[in-house]
């Protein structure tokens, strides 16, 4: 028991230590940019957790990160690397938006599931294509998902500029590329007056537990993990390896697609440019940080949500180029991920632990 406590303390110490190192390096950047690091960091670290707005915004960002991160974890369990989150989010968003606009008369309890399902389907098809290309044509999925991102992006732009553009944009002649507002019956409830945090968070957490259950408690998950761990043995045991590669990618893409639909009906209430906000890529880091485990991804996505909003707040507080903000953010991610490595690798772990215990 006491040892356990020590371990936990140690984990926290390593995380904090690397965090501080990252901040220190970041402060050099800030000083060069002529900014007081203390002011900047206060905005980045303290502010997000000290008011409702910051917390709400962190959760708003955590939701899509969670969905994408879980999707990437599933793909990874069958040894597929899904870099196609961006495209899958976008197509999920557009399908969700189209479904909601087409069926405005449906009651909320039906329309919201339909919209989410539409997003899942579109993202799933996009992921599934990469899975199918891998299984049947041996096309590396990293390559295909990246390429599919480009295609998805063009489809997305075309649709929100053309067929799906808000008729009033045309009427007013402004031509902002976005769809009309989603019907009220499709929109997630806001949880706090005046804040953007919405009930999508519950859906996301429920999905995380469902996926955990699916992977470790069902025969489907057993097969999926078997294919990822050792395809030869899975085949020997009667699993159709190709089929499960495709299924894993469908699920993975589908979850990113859900992220897209939630962004539409939870945050923006329209499909508009820039909606995917790089969640498709940040989701990879979230998945890794969550140890590619659906339940690990939950805290990981909250943490990254905080990091993202913190960076925005810092930028507003000290007015530095966003490139610098991104690089500081990168430093923090690097620090966290590498400290994670230290914690995972028994060799380093031992070294650090003995050092730590001596000092205690």
């Amino acid at each position: 028991m006491k040892n356990n406590l020590k371990e936990i303390l140690f984990n926290i110490a390593v995380l904090l230590g690397s965090f501080i190192i990252a901040l220190f390096l970041g402060s050099i950047i800030l000083l060069i940019a002529g900014v007081n690091p203390l002011v900047a960091y206060h905005a980045m670290i303290i502010r997000p957790v000290s008011n409702i707005y910051g917390l709400s915004e962190a959760v708003v960002r955590a939701i899509p990160l969670m969905m994408v991160g879980i999707g990437i974890s599933i793909a990874f369990r069958s040894k597929m690397i899904n870099i196609g989150g961006e495209g899958q989010i976008q197509l999920g968003a557009i399908a969700a938006g189209a479904a909601a606009l087409a069926l405005p008369g449906l009651p909320k309890v039906i329309l919201i599931p339909v919209v989410i399902l539409a997003g899942f389907t579109a993202g799933g098809i996009w992921g599934g294509i990469a899975g199918w290309m891998k299984a049947k044509l041996s096309v590396n999925e990293v390559l295909s998902t990246v390429m599919l991102n480009y295609i998805a992006f063009q489809i997305y732009l075309y649709l929100i500029r053309g067929p799906l553009i808000d008729p009033s944009e045309l009427a007013w002649g402004t031509g902002v590329p976005q769809t009309a507002r989603m019907p009220d019956s499709s929109i997630f409830q806001r949880l706090i007056q005046g804040q953007r945090i919405h009930s999508g968070i519950f859906i996301a957490i429920i999905i995380a537990f469902l996926v955990y259950f699916l992977l470790w408690r069902t025969t489907f998950g057993f097969r999926l993990r078997a294919v990822g761990e050792e395809p030869k043995a899975a085949n020997y045991a009667g699993v159709k390896v190709d089929k499960y590669l495709v299924l894993a990618m469908i699920l993975s893409g589908g979850l990113a697609g859900i992220a897209g639909s939630i962004e539409v009906i939870g945050v923006h209430h329209r499909v508009l440019e820039g909606l995917s906000a790089n969640y498709g890529f940040s989701g990879i880091v979230v998945a890794l940080f969550g140890r590619l485990h659906p339940l690990g991804v939950i805290p990981a996505s909250f943490f990254f949500g905080l990091l993202l909003i913190g960076a925005e707040m810092m930028q507003r507080a000290v007015d530095i180029p966003s490139a610098l903000v991104i690089s500081i953010q990168g430093l923090v991610i690097l620090a966290v991920v590498s400290s994670n490595l230290i914690l995972e690798n028994p060799k380093y772990r031992k070294k650090f632990l003995s050092f730590f215990v001596q000092k205690l």
């Binding site: 025969t219 489907f220 057993f222 020997y236 045991a237 009667g238 699993v239």
Partner: protein
């Protein structure tokens, strides 16, 4: 550092979570001798050798070379000191060439370039010097098991190793290759090499070693000169009891054909005909042995019946139905069991828990799962009792399977296949790497299954095993069944001739 005159391991202790793999183990080898290291599966032999080779750090104890303590913290250090090791499961990169694999362990003078031609040349020289016939430019994936082993040996020789650890080197070799290896060992110990030789094949141990050290449960239990002991005594000391291998009682009546192959043709991965018109039948309650030098189509034959290998001509009837090219799942469901040759990557999923591997073929069935939900309580109970029943040595059923010793992995597979009680079972090399007590156990289980009317196809290179267990023996040669003989009439010399492709009366 000069040549190794003597190497001593003193009071070595090594623990893993939940197991003590080595406990105060002592071991000594001198140059010019072969020390056989024996012990049951999981006794701690490989662990001890991995410590010597710098792969594991012991919790206690020390290693002395020529009387001086040394600290071996990496394989590179071990190689520098002159210690080479050939692992139980080879450590070569299949997609690289022989030269590149050897070069991986070399410290080059420059960090940015390496002279591969020089390496290749030296490999060629070594290969000639030791009669190994290895082409340094071939990919590892194109080499047979025997050739891969030679590459491992060359790797050690490249570093001028003069203490060589061979961890179950003969487990996967053909009898001819084994003879070659033993001959080669004789010649190098004559030149002052020291050898630690791990094997479960006691007749080889008697033939090649000078001294024997036996471990049980991670401790030294017996140490002797080979000339002062015999096979029974070694077996007794390993197992802690007398070991007697069973032989099949002859039957006079067999049931109907369970498996029936008619004119089966199949190509191997390289597109060459591996099966060329196989005709075979396996009857209910019979063990049909397949004799043959490895690489004559055994693997393809087993996999074709199990549905893992496509055939392009002929039919495979199983309980009356043609199962040729049916899906693996269908064939499993129909009642086919299969113990594959490659136990680590086909027979089990290394990263899965022991319990997950134990239900690898049953998870779809009630009571293991209902509709699509795995029943964890049932699975845990089932696996716990299986581990006890089959005496699988593992810390617990949640241990990842790759952490088990080789023989225990084999037991996991066997338990799974036998407990499903299939109508037919294909057993490829079921006792490869298994200790003698477990061989007894496995043989008893196979015979018991046969007496309960299972039809068994037994593929092995061990002629004793074939003769002891089989009812009939079919000899496979270049993808064809050369002859099928009654096991009563089989003797080793006749089988040996057939295996070499010589059929009596035909020239």
């Amino acid at each position: 550092m000069g040549k190794i005159q003597s190497m001593e391991m003193v009071d070595i202790t090594k623990t893993f979570p939940g197991v003590i793999a080595n406990k105060d183990v002592n071991l000594k080898v001198e140059s010019g001798e072969v020390l056989a290291l024996l012990g049951e599966n999981g006794a701690g032999k490989t662990t001890l050798m991995n410590i010597l080779y710098g792969l594991y750090k012991p919790n206690g104890g020390k290693v002395l070379i020529n009387g001086k303590e040394v600290n071996i913290d990496s394989p590179q250090k071990a190689l520098e000191l002159g210690i080479g090791m050939v692992h139980q499961h080879f450590m070569l990169v299949p997609s690289l060439t022989v030269t590149e694999n050897v070069a991986l362990g070399i410290k080059f003078k420059s960090k940015f370039s390496m002279n591969l031609d020089r390496v290749a040349e030296k490999i060629k020289k070594l290969s000639e010097l030791h009669n190994m016939n290895i082409n340094p430019n071939l990919l590892i994936s194109d080499l047979s098991v025997g050739e891969r082993q030679k590459v491992e040996i060359i790797k050690a020789l490249y570093h001028e190793a003069n203490l060589l650890v061979l961890d179950e080197p003969t487990a996967a070799l053909t009898p001819q290759e084994t003879d070659q290896l033993i001959k080669w060992l004789r010649s190098v110990i004559g030149e002052g090499m020291g050898v630690i030789f791990i094997s479960h094949k006691l007749n080889e141990v008697m033939e090649v070693s000078d001294r024997v050290e036996v471990l049980r449960n991670g401790e030294n239990v017996y140490s002797t000169k080979t000339s002062e002991t015999n096979i029974d005594e070694l077996a007794r000391n390993m197992a802690g009891r007398d070991v007697k291998l069973p032989t099949a009682e002859r039957k006079s009546k067999y049931g109907e054909d369970i498996v029936n192959l008619k004119d089966v043709w199949a190509k191997n991965e390289r597109g060459i005909d591996a099966l060329r018109g196989i005709n075979l039948n396996i009857r209910k309650g019979e063990i049909l042995g397949i004799a043959g030098v490895s690489g004559n189509g055994q693997k393809e034959l087993a996999e074709a019946i199990a549905g893992l290998q496509k055939i392009y001509k002929g039919e495979i009837r199983f309980k009356g139905e043609n199962i040729a090219n049916k899906s693996v799942q269908q064939i499993i469901d129909k009642g086919m069991g299969f113990v594959p040759e490659d136990r680590l990557h086909m027979g089990t999923i290394p990263g899965f828990k022991v319990k997950e591997n134990m239900i690898l073929k049953d998870y779809l069935r009630d009571p293991f799962s209902k509709i699509f939900l795995l029943d964890r309580t049932y699975i845990n109970d089932y696996c716990k009792s299986t581990v006890d029943e089959y005496d699988v040595r593992c810390p617990n059923i949640n241990t990842p399977t790759h952490a088990l010793s080789g023989g225990n992995i084999q037991k996991v597979i066997l338990s799974r296949e036998l407990k499903r009680n299939p109508d037919a079972l294909i057993a490829s090399y079921p006792i490869r790497g298994v200790d003698i007590a477990s061989v007894q156990y496995i043989h008893e289980k196979l015979l018991e299954a046969r007496d309960n009317d299972m039809a068994i196809l037994l593929i092995t290179e061990e002629l004793d095993e074939l003769i002891n267990l089989s009812d009939r023996i079919a000899v496979i040669y270049e993808g064809q069944i050369l002859d099928i003989i009654d096991a009563k009439e089989a003797d080793k010399s006749r089988l040996g001739l057939l295996m070499a492709g010589v059929k009596e009366g035909v020239s």
